[in-house]
């Protein structure tokens, strides 16, 4: 009757350390066993397991592909010609002087292009675009000033562009200098909205994945009810009973993450051709960027965490209720 409990009591501290090491090893061993056993069970019914992973994968792939799309749009915005354009509205000066100013500006190093738009041409364009042609033609005088459109050099930073605007505004001919950033700001605002939508959708879908996995684990627990009762009767602790189910959730989640990564990668591969042709038609060498290796890892991690969370949910709710009767 060599009983471990008695032994440790009798022989003191050094043995109780050994006991602790034994228990740690036993704990580790059971983790290995549970992990292997639950993986084995999942692989034993490949079709239903694959379906579960598919559901999780689709739920994870949706927000991820949106995120990848946003990312690509962001890169597209960044790759555009320097978005800033400075419109210089000139004061009342002879048209010749304005044209000269434009030419001078064009020669500056920090300016890529300076185009002179005479007030007559501006009026014409405006009445054509605005539909106010009749009203404008009834005016005695052209209310529009001469205009020089200045495009700063591509590699100028935003503060540098702003400084350039200040400098141009200080020129005596210039009455007003407007930095046209609105469309870029709108794009950025849109991206912000998009990111929020991705986050919200991602949150909801991950929650959905957690609940689906919770339900799957609940069914697994129901299927093994008798076994759980037996294990509890011969002295299995709650942790011991819980472990295989937590691993089941983890494996499903990891599988779902893998499926999600495959779906996103597949979709990118499917789109790469048309996007390339579209970009080529704009003389751009733009190419779709995927989630990358780290992105895939993150996806698998998120899947695994969702699986664990779902399993915890199910285990916490249902395992305690199963008691030997």
């Amino acid at each position: 009757m060599a009983r471990r409990g008695d032994g440790s009591r009798r022989m003191g501290a050094s043995l109780s350390r050994a006991l602790l090491r034994d228990r740690y090893r036993a704990w580790q061993q059971h983790h290995r066993l549970s992990a292997a056993d639950s993986l084995h069970r999942i692989l034993e019914s490949p079709v239903s397991s694959l379906l579960t992973c598919l559901v999780i994968g689709i739920a994870l792939a949706l927000p991820v592909s949106l995120d990848v799309a946003l990312d690509n749009i962001g890169r597209l915005g960044g790759a555009w010609d320097s978005p800033a354009q400075i419109s210089l509205f000139l004061g009342a000066a002879p048209a010749g002087g304005s044209r000269e100013l434009a030419a001078q500006l064009h020669d500056r190093e920090d300016i890529a292009r300076a185009t002179f738009v005479p007030r007559e041409q501006a009026l014409e364009e405006f009445s054509g675009l605005s539909g106010f042609g009749d009203i404008l033609s009834s005016l005695e005088e052209n209310p529009l000033p001469d205009l020089v459109l200045v495009t700063p050099r591509k590699d100028l930073s935003q503060p540098a562009v702003a400084a350039l605007r200040e400098e141009l505004l200080a020129l005596p001919e210039v009455e007003e200098a407007v930095l046209d950033l609105v469309w870029l700001q709108r794009l950025q605002a849109l991206m912000g909205v998009g990111q929020r939508i991705v986050l919200a959708m991602g949150g909801v879908l991950v929650l959905g994945a957690v609940l689906i996995l919770g339900n799957t684990i609940r069914l697994a627990i129901e299927n093994r009810r008798e076994e759980i009762v037996v294990v509890k009767l011969v002295g299995g602790s709650n942790g011991f009973v819980r472990r295989p189910f937590l691993y089941t959730g983890l494996w499903y989640g990891v599988g779902g993450g893998l499926v999600g990564a495959l779906l996103v990668t597949g979709a990118l591969w499917y789109l790469a051709g048309p996007v390339g042709r579209l970009a080529a038609s704009y003389d751009s060498d733009f190419r779709l960027a995927g989630p990358g290796f780290m992105g895939v890892l993150e996806l698998i991690l998120v899947g695994g965490l969702a699986g664990l969370a779902g399993a915890w949910l199910a285990v916490a709710r249902h395992l305690r209720a199963i008691q030997p009767r």
Binding site: R3, A26, V230, G235
Partner: protein, 221 residues
């Protein structure tokens, strides 16, 4: 080793399963617990296993006052007791070896130690050749012996058996009882609940009799 001190158990629906039961089972004893079905035998075993708590009274097992064992301590307490169930309660999706090994896996034993002990236990009950068999391919008597091997594989000091010969013919029943007597001879305290009075009377051990939750005969050999 096992003592009940004026223990009563009333179930929520008002049924009194045990009334003021006091028993004392010494170390190394083999004791029978008998009575009609519903007399309280199972309840008594359930209290020892901490599957239920008494309404009144005190249960002490191996020096441990069960009133002080909290929910967290229940698994540990159960690991110290071997139990044989009437309906075997084997895991039908695993071979005999894994079934017998279960308490050792829970106890965290090294796998070589597990192999050694499981084979020793299977040898003891005469099923060494069937270790790879699935439980459903075994006869009722063999399944019961697998249950016994599982109960003793952790070398508990206390062994409980709930109608261990319930569905077996007399010859097999006698064989099972003989097994219990062997374990008793190496120092295991054994409590067997059974209504097989013919068999019990042939074996000369102390017998407690329960009737409607009351102890009506006990301590007589």
């Amino acid at each position: 080793m096992i003592s009940f001190d004026r223990v009563s158990k009333r179930y929520p629906e008002g049924h009194d399963a045990l009334r003021e039961v006091s028993i004392d089972i010494a170390r190394d004893e083999l004791v029978f617990l008998t009575g009609h079905s519903g007399a309280g035998k199972s309840t008594l075993l359930r209290l020892i296993m901490l599957m239920d708590r008494p309404t009144r009274g005190r249960v002490v097992v191996d020096g441990r006052d069960l009133g002080r064992v909290r929910a967290r301590g229940i698994p540990r307490h159960r690991r110290d007791i071997g139990v044989v169930f009437q309906n075997h309660l084997l895991l039908n999706d695993r071979p005999v070896f894994d079934n017998v090994a279960l308490p050792l896996v829970i106890g965290g034993y090294d796998h070589r130690e597990i192999g050694r002990r499981v084979r020793a236990a299977l040898d003891k009950v005469g099923l060494l050749e069937r270790e790879r068999a699935m439980p459903v391919t075994l006869s009722g008597g063999e399944q019961q012996r697998v249950g016994i091997a599982r109960a003793v594989v952790g070398r508990p000091r206390i062994l409980l058996a709930d109608e261990p010969t319930g569905n077996l013919d007399p010859a097999l029943s006698a064989e099972i009882m003989h097994l219990f007597e062997q374990f008793n001879q190496v120092g295991v305290t054994i409590l067997i609940a059974s209504h097989d009075l013919v068999l019990i009377s042939r074996l000369h051990h102390r017998t407690f009799t329960l009737r409607e939750g009351r102890l009506v005969g006990g301590g007589a050999h």
